[in-house]
């Protein structure tokens, strides 16, 4: 598609439950990025993929967070055993040749952990 699609738009989970977020990058874009916006302004990079390969995972809290980008499927970000501090908006972005080109952002998924 012509836009980055993220589903669901909103997700509510009880503490300890699993959360799974999806991202469909723009067709033809080979890079996918996940960012977490916890407070209204603060962004944190989580992970990036080049096609289905992890490119940079330096921002990922590995104990509970995992992500995949498989061929012919939306990319996913999964949080096992969510905590209150995971409440945030999660943005996915895609670009053609890494961040040297413009990253196109999806509308975000708002995760609320109660």
């Amino acid at each position: 598609g012509e836009e980055v699609a993220q589903t669901p738009k909103h997700l509510v989970r009880g503490e300890g439950q699993k959360a799974k977020l999806y991202c469909a990058p723009i067709k033809g874009h080979s890079y996918v990025f996940w960012y977490q916006q916890v407070l209204k302004n603060e962004f944190k990079f989580l992970i990036s993929f080049q096609n289905e390969n992890v490119f940079d995972e330096t921002g990922m809290p590995k104990e509970r967070f995992s992500a995949k980008c498989l061929p012919n499927s939306p990319c996913s970000l999964e949080i096992q055993a969510t905590k209150l501090e995971d409440s945030a908006v999660y943005f996915c972005a895609s670009s053609q040749v890494g961040a040297y080109n413009e990253q196109f952002f999806g509308p975000g998924t708002r995760l609320t952990v109660l």
């Binding site: 302004n41 603060e42 962004f43 961040a99 413009e102 990253q103 952002f105």
Partner: protein
């Protein structure tokens, strides 16, 4: 490591006033890109501009203009004749050429009062 300072946390202006949003960044890279994004109250991220570190020409796009000064590591953004629809949080974001991800600044919240 990349670091971004947006010294103005919040700015309020009256409609039709000009306003400049400051951005100072730190980087050890000789080649890099700089971005500005807008995040309106609806929450989506809107790409405004990408600037190559080799190109120090100022850029104008309608009511928007950008002043890039490599010598002072600043990339300031001016809105001329502000409008209420300009009310949003604006993020300055250098790209990490080493790690190919966007590093977001803390953002400046702009309120344009009718």
């Amino acid at each position: 490591a990349q670091k971004v300072t947006q010294a103005q946390t919040e700015i309020s202006v009256v409609e039709k006033e000009d306003v400049t949003l400051d951005c100072v960044y730190e980087t050890r890279d000789t080649t890099y890109y700089l971005f500005w994004y807008k995040q309106p109250p609806s929450g989506e991220l809107v790409f405004l501009i990408r600037r190559n570190s080799f190109d120090e020409q100022n850029e104008i796009s309608g009511r928007y203009s950008w002043n890039f000064q490599k010598s002072t590591s600043s990339f300031n953004f001016t809105i001329t004749a502000s409008q209420v629809v300009d009310s949003a949080v604006y993020f300055c974001a250098p790209e990490s050429t080493s790690y190919d991800k966007v590093i977001f600044g803390p953002g400046t919240s702009l309120s344009v009062i009718p």
